[in-house]
Amino acid sequence: MKVFPDDLLYSREHVWVRVEGDLATVGITDLAQERLGEVHSIELPEIDSEVERDEPFGAIEAAKGTVELISPLTGNVINVNEDLIDDIGIVNSDPHDTGWMVVVEINDLDELDDLLDSRGYHDFILQEVEGE
């Protein structure tokens, strides 16, 4: 049984968001990393670039597959996790914390209303599985 921390928000594209003021730290959920399998490499945006809600902000290559990372928010990238360059394995081993990917300065805080809390994300996953 996966545990999704209560202090995070979640997108339906399996991306989590930790909000502090108008800054959002973004990563992929434990479920997303499990579905991917072992992650090999990652493409992330450059600092000072813009990301747009529901548009790709990067890509991950895992065993035999490439997955686009879909941004949950619109804003300006102010930090990128450079630790992932040295140890991409933390995306798999610690996805909700040290495996974070980017920090975004949020343009419109109202976009947060479309994200799910941990309970809502849990219910969404159950619906997704039932739909298979």
């Binding site: 579905r35 290559e61 490439t66 997955v67 686009e68």
Partner: protein, 266 residues
């Protein structure tokens, strides 16, 4: 590549039923994976001299030399009764159909029970003994989990991309295999050449090595389509690109899928 991605993007945008495409190449080509470094993994001079087009795939994985192969693409939403959001499970579902299609042609293909482990030498037990792989650029240098083997040798390489609940899986089923050309266009060039070519020959096989009777490319396509229909219990209808897909294909051809051998495109 542009057609595959155009269909993929349109399924993302407006949904639609699963699509299976089977196609070939007008001239020899190398496709490289989304994350591959072209300068480190492809011998561009050899491609240029040999008239080999180089195109980056939207999917991951390693380099594939396309000459006498049948390329397939499957595009579908990933949360249906047929397909799963898990990469390897989707591989399994598609590979089982390919196996069924090859069986109908009299080729005893099986799914690889173990796969390569990136960054390390991979080892696979097979009927032909132990096959060791390495970080070669060629997709066919070692099989991955759920890929197709015939008598312990890889016959089909596949790769996938996913985004917004839709997947695209592309693969190359070898009608015949040219280990010399594969060695020449992919890097690194480990020496001696003859030994490396022989190693590829021992790891890779093709349909023409195993077909009990002569079949045409159309026969292979027909067998695979029947296998997809039986395996998924669906009826596949021939179709053409929608106007939206056609427009997107043209755009992608100009902006993304140009020949990387031509100067300035890398």
């Amino acid at each position: 590549m542009a057609i595959d991605e155009a269909i993929f993007r349109e399924v993302q945008r407006s949904g639609g039923p699963p699509t299976v495409r089977l196609y070939g190449w007008l001239s020899p080509a190398v496709t490289i994976g989304h994350f591959q470094h072209i300068d480190r993994e492809i011998d561009l001079d050899a491609c240029r001299k040999g008239g080999v087009t180089v195109v980056r795939r939207p999917t991951g994985g390693k380099a594939v030399y396309h000459d006498d192969d049948l390329t397939y693409a499957v595009i579908a939403a990933d949360n249906t009764s047929l397909f799963s959001p898990t990469i390897l499970e989707t591989y399994r579902v598609i590979s089982q159909c390919l196996v069924r299609g090859l069986h109908k042609l009299g080729v005893e293909a099986i799914l690889a029970a173990e796969g390569r482990e990136p960054g390390k030498e991979s080892v696979m037990e097979s009927g032909m003994g132990t096959v060791k792989g390495s970080e070669d650029a060629s997709c066919f240098s070692v099989p991955s989990l759920h890929e197709l083997l015939v008598k312990g040798r890889k016959i089909c390489g596949s790769a996938q991309m996913r985004s917004r609940g839709v997947f695209l899986q592309q693969g190359s089923l070898l009608m015949s295999f040219d280990p010399e050309k594969t060695y020449d266009v992919t890097l690194p060039h480990r020496e001696p050449r003859a030994r490396q070519v022989q190693a590829l020959r021992e790891k890779v096989t093709s349909l023409y090595d195993h077909l009990p009777r002569f079949v045409t490319r159309e026969d292979v396509c027909k067998s695979l389509i029947e296998a997809f229909q039986t395996g998924w219990q669906v009826s596949l209808a021939e179709g053409s690109l929608t106007p939206e897909e056609e427009t997107l294909k043209e755009h992608l051809l100009k902006t993304k899928y140009c020949d990387l051998v031509k100067e300035g495109n890398t």
